[in-house]
Each structure stands twice: as structure tokens, then as C-alpha cells.
């Protein structure tokens, strides 16, 4: 063991300091399996103090480090830096405090998203951000990526539900950002930290805000003979002044795949399915449901189903939640993007994606958060066929540029990471990026924290994408993505 590593050995017992190739292998990539890098070592801290000492060690020896939650990043965010340290936070998974009266939960960063809602459930409370990865992804990872789910239009992303964080800065200094209040005096430092993709330090304690569980849900499934009609229906719902908690669209390929996988009982001949869900106080939801019914009836749907109970609601969502992995099963490999377009440009974007799909000769399935314009085109290809991966990547790149061209964003929830850093200049000018870099270097002059991510000129990680398939957890049927 090299002398620096033996210093780490004074902080960690051998079972929490991994250095053998066999031990390191599971940490070599995240859910973007296309990228791999071998770290120098992996440490598994159990306390904030151990994280502080570890980061101090990195700062002293100028060793780059990557914080890692469950490694479900879809953009290479938790990919190790070659020869750097991985700080695995899964063991810091305790609920430190839950105060039902003040409606806050204080958790360690390795605490799993879904477990927050589970812990809050006895008090009629829940944690709103619901990425599809919520059964496995950690609050620390969610924070770093400002993760979202199906309910972002109405309830916002992770950032809107985090009140405070204790953060170990890249030089091992510890700061408290935010507070327990929804309000603040002074710049929103916490707001800057959330979504910084692990480049500004490691959150070791996070204060989350809990919401009362909605009293009633009203879930509608509408089938259309064209994607355009489904898109227009979304516009009509919005124009009616209703604010549904979720609006989701699936195209034909996605419907077929989902149906084959989980038998949700979807209308099989539909060219597009729209799911709209209202939630809130019972009398209000009942009144809104009548208005929604009228809007959907006038939208040209050829079949409309309303969930009569929790089981039927779960069934409608089951197909939607399974759609991604299901589509993945239709093809040996696939790439997924998550660009955003203004809602009124959804139709145009989908037509263009269809045209690109034909031009490239690659199938593209679409499942997306229609309420907030967040697309999730899934590009199917076969990595064993020479050149197909490159074609798929070129197609993905065209879709990202299309999103920016229509006034949107290259990513709505999966973050920039490794995968999309080359597209940052499509969205931000040189001055914008230079300022972000300046901010980063003010906090981390040696660029130790997650070096090589987010910014186009980053160099650290190596290797080009070779293969992009399902995450091991998806193969095991434990997870599905949106």
C-alpha cells in the first residue's frame, strides 16, 4: 500500500477501505454503463467526521474524489476519476430526526429517497420529489442532481424541498447552508449547492421538508389515435386553468412494450396515451375532476378511463413506470435523453424526433412528462452492429440541440455529468461557463471534487461509450426509469 493510502488506513478499518481490483469493480461506473474508470480506492465512511477527515486527506495529497450514493446517475455523475478516491455514502443511511409537527426530516446523505416517505407516512406526511429511482437513489445523490419526478410542474424539484444541508467543502471545511425555515436572509447559498453535481463538496446531513399527503387522487387515462391529439389535450388542460399534479404521455412503441411487460391493460391500438392526475383536498379534486372530464371529452380521445380506486390507479401508473425498462427489452442496447422543450413545442419536437429516427434508421420510443415539457426519448440500437452506437449517439446529440433550439434545456433531471458536458456550450455562452468555472475554483482551486464533470473542457475520466444498456438493478427487475 502506498504511504498516502496507509494514512487512510488509520481512518478506516480494512472492510471499509477497498483497494483490491475485485472490490473496486462495482464502483467503476454508474447507471451510464458506457463509461468506466478505475479508482485508486473506495472508502465507506459511517460518520460525518470520517468524511471530513477523508476530504482533508484528499486535499492534502491533491487526490480527486467523487461522492457516491447508490450510483444510479444516468449521466456519469458518479463515475470515478481514474486514480481518484470514491467516497461511498451508502452506510451513512440513518434518519437523524423526524419532527412531524414542524414537518421536517433530517437525514444522512445515504438515506434512500423512498424511505423518507415511508418514515413520514404514519404522520400523514410524505416527501414530494419522486424520481423513478426512488426505491434506491439516495438523498445525497438527489441533492447533487436536483432530481425530479412526475410531479415537478406543481411541486418543483429536489431543490424546492430541501431546507438545509451540512456540507464538507473540497478543502474539508464544514459549512451549514440553509436552515430549518422555508425563508432566508441573504443569497440562497443552499440553492446554489443543490444541483451542483458533486462539484462543490459533500453533503453529510440534509434537512428535508415534508408535505401532508393529498387526501384524494383522480387519475385519468385517455387514448388517442395520434400523438398530436394527446399533445393538444395537454395544451387544453393547461388552458382550462387546471394544475394537475402529473401529465404523462407514452407513444405507441412505449405502450406496446409496457403492455407486454406488465399487462397494465392499456388500449393496445392507441398511437398515444395520456395520463392526467389531479390530487388534493377531496371536494376540490371532485370539482376539478368534472372540469377535467369536459376538457378530455372534447379532446378527441377515443377511449377514456378513470381509476375508481387505489388499485386501478396503481395499474395505470404501473405501465407508465415500467415503460422504460420495457422498451429497453425490445432492443439489445439503448440510450436515453432527458431534454426539455417549451410545452407548446412538444408536438414540433416529437415530429422532428420521428423524422430523425427515420433518417438514422433507429427506432425511438417516447415516454415523457408532458406537464413540464421534459422529453425522454429512448434510442434503440444494437451495439454489436458496427457503427450503430455512433449513429445512436449522433441522433441523441441532434435531439439535445433540437431541445436547445426550441428554447429548452439539454437536461430536465438527469444532469450534465460526463454525458452531456459537450453540449453545455449549446446552452451557455463562454462567459456563462467561465463564471461557473470561477465559482467552482473559488470553492475548489485544485478541482478535486468530481473533476472532469459538467464542464466541456474536463479531462479526467477516460474512455468513450462502448455500451449503453440497462442498469444491473433494472436487469434484476428492481428498478425502472422514466
Amino acid at each position: 500500500m502506498n504511504p498516502a493510502l496507509s494514512e487512510l488506513g488509520r481512518i478506516y478499518p480494512p472492510e471499509r477501505l477497498l483497494v483490491q481490483p475485485g472490490q473496486l469493480a462495482p464502483y467503476e461506473s454508474d447507471a451510464l454503463t458506457a463509461f468506466r474508470a478505475r479508482p485508486l480506492a473506495v472508502v465507506l465512511p459511517e460518520t460525518a467526521e470520517e468524511v471530513v477527515q477523508t476530504v482533508a486527506w484528499c486535499a492534502r495529497h491533491k487526490v480527486p474524489f467523487v461522492a457516491r450514493g447508490s450510483g444510479t446517475s444516468l449521466s456519469g455523475g458518479s463515475l470515478p476519476v481514474e486514480g481518484g478516491l470514491v467516497i461511498g455514502l451508502n452506510r451513512m443511511n440513518r434518519l437523524l430526526r423526524l419532527d412531524p409537527k414542524e414537518r421536517v426530516a433530517v437525514v444522512q446523505p445515504g438515506f434512500i429517497n423512498l424511505h423518507v416517505s415511508n418514515a413520514a407516512a404514519p404522520y400523514g406526511l410524505y416527501y414530494a420529489p419522486d424520481p423513478s429511482s426512488q426505491p434506491v437513489s439516495t438523498i445525497g445523490g438527489n441533492l447533487a442532481f436536483n432530481s425530479g419526478g412526475a410531479h415537478c410542474l406543481k411541486y418543483g424539484m429536489t431543490s424546492n424541498h430541501v431546507l438545509g444541508a451540512k456540507v464538507v467543502l473540497p478543502d474539508a471545511e464544514v459549512v451549514e447552508l440553509g436552515s430549518q425555515s422555508l425563508e432566508a436572509v441573504g443569497p440562497d447559498w443552499l440553492g446554489l449547492f443543490v444541483g451542483s453535481e458533486g462539484l462543490m463538496g459533500i453533503a453529510v446531513e440534509v434537512t428535508l421538508r415534508l408535505l401532508p399527503k393529498p387526501e384524494k387522487y383522480h387519475t385519468v387515462l385517455a387514448a388517442y389515435d395520434s400523438l398530436e391529439k394527446a399533445g393538444n389535450a395537454v395544451a387544453a388542460v393547461v388552458a382550462s386553468g387546471l394544475l394537475p399534479g402529473a401529465m404523462e404521455i407514452m407513444d405507441h412503441l412505449a405502450i406496446e412494450a409496457a403492455e407486454a411487460a406488465v399487462k397494465a391493460g392499456y388500449p393496445m391500438d392507441a398511437r398515444a396515451l395520456l395520463i392526467v392526475e389531479l390530487e388534493g383536498e377531496a371536494p376540490e379534486v371532485e370539482a376539478e375532476a368534472r372540469h377535467l372530464g369536459e376538457v378530455i371529452a372534447a379532446s378527441g380521445a377515443y377511449e377514456v378511463r378513470v381509476a375508481r380506486d387505489a388499485d386501478e390507479r396503481a395499474k395505470i401508473w404501473k405501465g407508465r413506470k415500467a415503460a422504460f425498462s420495457a422498451v429497453g427489452r425490445l432492443s439489445p442496447d439503448y440510450l436515453v435523453q432527458d431534454g426539455v422543450v417549451p410545452r407548446s413545442k412538444l408536438g414540433q419536437a416529437l415530429l422532428e424526433i420521428e423524422r430523425l429516427s427515420q433518417q438514422y434508421g433507429l427506432r425511438v420510443a417516447n415516454v415523457f412528462h408532458a406537464g413540464d415539457g421534459n422529453l425522454h426519448p429512448l434510442i434503440l440500437y444494437d451495439g454489436k452492429v458496427g457503427g450503430q452506437l455512433e449513429q445512436a449517439e449522433a441522433l441523441a446529440g441532434e435531439i439535445l440541440k433540437l431541445c436547445v433550439g426550441l428554447g429548452g434545456s439539454i437536461t430536465g433531471e438527469h444532469g450534465v455529468g460526463m454525458e452531456k458536458k459537450a453540449y453545455m456550450p449549446a446552452m451557455f455562452s463562454e462567459d456563462d461557463l467561465a463564471l461557473m468555472q470561477r465559482l467552482r475554483r473559488a470553492l475548489d482551486p485544485d478541482e478535486l471534487a468530481n473533476r472532469g464533470k459538467m464542464f466541456p473542457q474536463g479531462t479526467a475520466a477516460t474512455g468513450a461509450p462502448r455500451h449503453s444498456g440497462p442498469h444491473p438493478l433494472e436487469q434484476a427487475g428492481l428498478l425502472s426509469r422514466e
Binding site: 424539484m157 436572509v185 441573504g186 443569497p187 388552458a239 438527469h414 467561465a434
Partner: protein, 365 residues
């Protein structure tokens, strides 16, 4: 200086070593220049640039008066869900973001930090930069728009801002209920906030202890929701309740949004509901309003600012003076609008230094 274009802002910033941007000047404690500071009057950069009601997104120049924005939104049945104060007195979008101010209706969907989507600003080196975007969901790059909330002109001059907006409730009603003492009012506030009942506003006033609850939604559902609310509160006697609807109700909230309470400092204090009981034991009688279920206090303070400073410190709180003076008998000039515990930390210092290396936007050398 009153720039009317981005280019003029850039020139002004580059040419001026000490600079204080000002919007409408409604928060005078924040926008009155100190010695050596030149004022950059931002009201010349005014106007809505993009607004498509179907997108729920509005983009405007920072000097745009809130009143203009709200009137435009209202014509399309939409509103700013963070409910900024001082609309009628001429506050601007930029001043509202820079001061970080939200009003009672932040209870329903969140504050200004939750609705800002994008920003263009001029940093201390005189470069124009953008952060965020113009769509309701976006995760690319550092979240600079949020950073600007509460930045008081010290991290850069805001030029253009993008917000998420929402449809207004089709009907609203406001129910006031008065309690004999503070404790049962606080208890009711906690229970209401943890219940599935949804409020556009959940405010507490202390003299006498009164909860003001605003409901909004479909008009046909309001009567039964009000009935449920009464039942939830244990059917308080009519002598202790007041129901406002229609124009009177709207007018009431416009009045509240002026925060015009006569003499005294107007101070914003962020807090959490659990701190209210102890704070109330130490605060002198006076006008104040706890909004968003006890997350935010707007306080009128007549005495010397120093006294409030120590009081807040004793309770582990901080505050910011927005405007006003102490009672004439108390002679003092406010040294800093910041009161109570010091929130500065090295994350803050380093970010400030990165955005404004020559300290163009701050008072100290």
C-alpha cells in the same frame, strides 16, 4: 445613472468602482446608497420580454414594476404564486428577487426561490452572464437564479429574469378566526398546516391571536371546504370568526401586501413555527404578521435597531430591515440592514469573491 439597455449596464458597471443597483426603492433600507456608492437606477430596463400563458413562463427585464407584471398575468388568469409584497408601492421584479421577498400566498406553492427559473446579470467584472433557463424544468449548470434570491445587489446587477407562473384560483375566500390566547392559535396553526386542507395563505397575527386562512379553487367547492374548515377548528363561535369573499377579500390581501404599518422599521425575519412562542414572550406589543404557517415574520419595530439585533440573537434568529426608521425619539442611523445572528461563512465569502472580486457591489473596501 439610469441605463436603458444591457450595454449601458455593462458600461456603467465597468466605469464605477462602488455601485448600488436600485429598483423602485421601496425597500429603502436596502436601496439607499452609503458614502462613496453610486446608484444604478434600474427602472430604465423595464418591460415584459416573453410571455406565453400556455407555457406558465414569464421573462421580463429586472426593472419591470411588479404591478405591470401582475396586471398582464391577471388578464390571462395567472399570477405570481410567491405573492411579492409592495406591488402597489412600485416594487420591481429585480428588487423583489434581490431582497428575496415573498408574501402570504407563498404558503400554497412556495416562495420567490421556488419560482425563479432563469437570470441574466452583470457580474463584478462587468461581464453579462446567464444561468438557468426559460422552461419550467431544467437541471443544466449551476443554479445561479436561486443564488440571486436575497443577494441585495451584492453579487451582480440583475438585468433579465424568468419566472414560472401559475393559473390563479378561480375563486377565493378568506376565513379569520380569533383565539383567546396565543397557545391554542399556535396549536391550530400546526394542525392545519399538517392536515390535507390546502391554503393559499395561513397567517398568524398576535394581538389578538388570529389565524387568517385563504382558500382558493373551484367556486362550487368553496362552500363545502369552508364547512370542513369550520368543523376542523371545532366550530368556533361566530363572534370569533369572519368570512371575506369577493372584492372585499381581494382588497384585504392587497392591503396586507403593502405592509404599511406607520412608524418603525419593517423587518423580515425567517423562522420556524416552533420558535414563535418563545419569541412572542420577548417581543413588545406591536404590529407583526407570521406568514406561511410560521415560516416568515414581517415585524414592525419602533425602538432602536440594536435592541432588536440582540433580541434576535438571543433567539438564534436573523432579520433584515427593509425600510423605515425607529421612532423619532430614538436617534440613530442604521449601520447595516442585517440584524441578529451572523450567517456569513466561507462558502459565502468565496462565492462573493468569485462574482465580485473588486468588491464593486459591497460597502467595505
Amino acid at each position: 445613472m439610469r441605463p436603458t439597455s444591457l450595454t449601458e449596464v455593462l458600461e456603467a458597471v465597468r466605469a464605477t468602482p462602488k455601485l448600488l443597483p436600485r429598483g423602485g426603492g421601496t425597500k429603502a433600507a436596502l436601496s439607499t446608497p452609503r458614502e462613496g456608492q453610486a446608484v444604478l437606477d434600474m427602472t430604465g430596463l423595464s418591460g415584459v420580454l416573453e410571455y406565453d400563458p400556455a407555457e406558465y413562463v414569464l421573462v421580463a427585464l429586472a426593472g419591470t414594476p411588479l404591478a405591470e407584471v401582475e396586471a398582464l398575468l391577471a388578464r390571462h388568469g395567472q399570477y405570481l404564486p410567491f405573492d411579492p409584497p409592495f406591488v402597489e408601492q412600485g416594487a420591481t421584479l429585480g428588487g423583489t428577487v434581490a431582497a428575496g421577498l415573498s408574501g402570504p400566498m407563498r404558503q400554497r406553492y412556495g416562495g420567490v426561490r421556488d419560482f425563479i427559473l432563469g437570470v441574466q446579470f452583470v457580474d463584478g467584472e462587468g461581464n453579462a452572464v446567464r444561468g438557468g433557463g426559460k422552461v419550467v424544468k431544467n437541471a443544466a449548470g449551476f443554479d445561479l437564479p436561486k443564488l440571486m434570491v436575497g443577494s441585495r445587489g451584492q453579487l451582480g446587477v440583475l438585468v433579465e429574469l424568468a419566472f414560472k407562473v401559475f393559473p390563479s384560483p378561480r375563486a377565493t375566500a378568506t376565513f379569520k378566526v380569533t383565539f383567546e390566547r396565543l397557545e391554542p392559535a399556535l396549536e391550530a396553526m400546526h394542525e392545519l398546516a399538517s392536515s390535507p386542507l390546502e391554503f393559499y395563505a395561513l397567517d398568524l397575527e398576535t394581538n389578538p391571536a388570529t389565524l387568517t386562512l385563504r382558500l382558493g379553487g373551484q367556486p362550487e367547492a368553496l362552500p363545502s371546504r369552508l364547512e370542513r374548515l369550520r368543523a376542523f377548528l371545532g366550530h368556533p363561535p361566530d363572534t370569533h370568526t369572519l368570512l371575506m369573499e369577493g372584492e372585499k377579500e381581494q382588497g384585504y390581501w392587497r392591503f396586507v401586501g403593502r405592509l404599511e404599518w406607520g412608524h418603525g422599521y419593517l423587518v423580515k425575519v425567517p423562522l420556524q413555527p416552533g420558535k414563535i412562542a418563545a419569541l412572542e414572550r420577548d417581543l413588545p406589543p406591536g404590529i407583526r404578521r407570521y406568514v406561511a404557517a410560521g415560516n416568515l415574520l414581517y415585524l414592525n419595530w419602533l425602538d432602536a435597531a440594536e435592541k432588536l439585533d440582540s433580541l434576535l440573537k438571543a433567539h438564534g434568529l436573523c432579520g433584515i430591515v427593509l425600510r423605515g426608521d425607529a421612532y423619532p425619539a430614538v436617534k440613530e442611523t442604521l449601520k447595516s440592514p442585517l440584524l441578529g445572528i451572523d450567517l456569513e461563512h466561507s462558502f459565502a465569502r468565496r462565492v462573493r469573491a468569485a462574482l465580485d472580486p473588486t468588491r464593486r457591489f459591497s460597502l467595505d473596501p
